[in-house]
Amino acid sequence: MKHTDTIVVKDLAIGYPGKNSVKVVAEGINDTLRSGYLTCLLGENGAGKSTLLRTLAGFQPAISGTVEVMGKPLQQYREKELATVIGVVLTERTNLQNMTVEELVGMGRSPYTGFWGRLNADDREKVTAAMELVGIAPLSGRMVQTLSDGERQKVMIAKALAQETPVIFLDEPTAFLDYPSKVEILHLLHRLATEMDKTIFLSTHDLELALQMADRLWLMAKGRGVVAGTPEDLAMDGTLESFFTRKGVAFERITGLYRVEPEYHAQVRLKGDATACAMVAKALRRNGILAGSDVESDCTIEALPEGGYKIGKGSESATLAVTMSELLELLQL
């Protein structure tokens, strides 16, 4: 894979200048965003994700350090010029009325249109292409206010595509969406990064999805700056674990994913078919019971080959359960 470094960040400090003192949100940020990659910015609320995005997009000045965009310092760009390099999808919900999807996507052409902002044939072609790429062509005549949140997000992405920028920043594009829509949007963005060699950088709270779909992660935490790498590297060297695990959340190194971790109050030993055992373990974990084939306990559950479960407890006689719900009811621990 050939990727170019589109955005190079050196010793960046971000924050807000106050009257007397500067409020630094994060500092010592050093990394690179590459084309063809979907990079996800993860961090808790208040870690400074939006501030970082706003700084990289040129919406607010950096406190110190440099941001180079396509080999040129960010602050040397004129507004018009920057509009052709970085496109954004923001969290601010636009309260647009009486504007069609096509018109809104067409606004993405503004940096290229003339005095009146009229679209020519070429512009219109690009708008149509952007809508098709995102899969909203059938909505083109719809009024924006009648769209669902997911559709609206896609429209804004199409706008950014119509803007024809090599870099696209998205501030929490998956917030307020249902799960399938989140997955769909991330798939779409990943596809755009790979197929069109775009640099896509987005902030999100959807940890699990980001870990599965991002090519690279930027992790942000208060007082720790930014740590970047592929999800797998960050998983293996323990960075992910140290960033996000806390009471009730465990990081599974095997899968590289986070898991809800309850406090266990009992243990059960499992025997039998592996798939059935995994299901039993999952159901019991939810109920605060640690279960597994390697767990030492005088209570055992055996998944029977003909279906059903046999519950044995010490010297008591074994009881049988047919379904999982029966099992959970019978199991008194």
Binding site: E79, A83, V88, L90, E103, M107, S110, F115
Partner: protein, 337 residues
């Protein structure tokens, strides 16, 4: 759009035809085309009263509506109108100073000195409103966020009103009356040479406001998106406020504070044309604003009222139901979709 333009033309001629003195259409036409042999009294009525009034209403309606549209877009607030930033309050303050203080200080009731008094009031109104506008523009540089600016504008309006109240309290009764009459708003007060000046200024300003069409369209998306699409939002906001402010200042100076039109017409146009594209809305607001102002002027002058109805009452009485009906109809269509 063609329909709106046609109604402007139609209403313009109706404004010439209808009035307390019945003048046949044929004679009106003769007077307009400059033919001879018409009653000089009729000629006077048409050329010195009805024609200037129609022109004034046309320009004032168009100007206020454009200003209202610009304000609603830049503040993304449907309740914003041309007067929201206190610009028209500034005009009122200017006029109040001249009208109310001249009586006390110079001993001359301004209302009694005719043409010079009129000019003085116009100048005072322009100075007052432009001063407020400059203040607002200065503040807009300092504050972040539209809502803050909007609130500051409203506050300036309150302060101006309060000062006017104090001035009124210390003024002679006939001066207060003159001020109150000015405050009612009228398309008829502008006379003779002043009309020409007003029409020329407006004819220059209105096309100039069209320059901001692309800017306004971008501002619709919100500051963040507008900026990302290459717009200098701060400068754009200043330009729009300046454009709307000057329009309001001029109209208010010549016609007094005309309420309602500027707030209502943009909504009317969005309802009718079902778009938020300013390439349509700007000309549409101009035409619809002109048409509505002419209609109101016509009604205020219907035989029977004898020009006694203040324009502000008519604009609201006629305009409010019209706007309500359009918005209501649109709501029903939207939910039907």
């Amino acid at each position: 759009m063609i329909l709106t333009a046609a109604s402007v033309v139609l209403l313009f001629f109706l404004n010439l035809l209808v009035g307390s003195v019945a003048i046949p259409a044929a004679s009106t036409w003769k007077i307009l085309t400059g033919a001879t042999g018409v009653d000089p009294i009729w000629q006077n009525i048409i050329l010195k009263s009805r024609l200037p009034q129609a022109f004034t209403a046309l320009m004032a309606g168009a100007g206020l509506s454009v200003a209202g549209l610009q304000m609603q877009t830049v503040f993304r607030n449907p309740l914003a109108g041309p007067s929201v930033l206190g610009v028209s309050s500034g005009a009122s303050l200017g006029v109040a100073f001249v009208v109310l203080l001249s009586g006390r200080l110079a001993g001359v009731a301004l209302s009694s000195i005719g043409y010079m008094g009129e000019v003085a009031m116009t100048v005072a109104a322009i100075i007052g409103s432009l001063a407020v506008m400059l203040l607002i523009m200065y503040v807009s540089q300092k504050v972040r966020g539209n809502v803050t600016l909007l609130i500051i504008g409203v506050m300036i309006g309150y302060v101006a009103t309060a000062i006017i109240g104090v001035l009124k309290f210390f003024s002679a009764e006939e001066d207060v009356r003159a001020y109150v009459v000015w405050g009612l708003g009228s398309f008829a007060r502008v006379s003779g040479g002043q009309v020409t000046t007003f029409v020329i200024i407006m004819a220059a300003l209105l096309p100039l406001s069209m320059v901001l069409i692309k800017t306004l369209n971008l501002l619709l998306l919100g500051d963040g998106y507008a900026r990302n699409l290459g717009l200098n939002v701060k400068r754009a906001r200043m330009a729009v406020i300046a454009s709307a402010g000057v329009l309001v200042a001029i109209v208010t100076a010549y016609c007094g504070p005309i309420t309602f039109l500027g707030l209502a017409v943009p909504h009317l146009c969005r309802g009718i044309f079902r778009t938020s594209d300013h390439r349509t809305l700007m000309p549409a607001s101009m035409l619809a604003g002109a048409a509505l102002a002419l209609l109101c002027n016509l009604i205020a002058r219907m035989p029977g009222f004898e020009g006694a109805l203040p324009v502000n009452s008519v604009t609201a009485l006629i305009g409010a139901p019209v706007v309500a009906v359009v918005l209501f109809k649109r709501r029903k269509e939207d939910s039907g979709e």
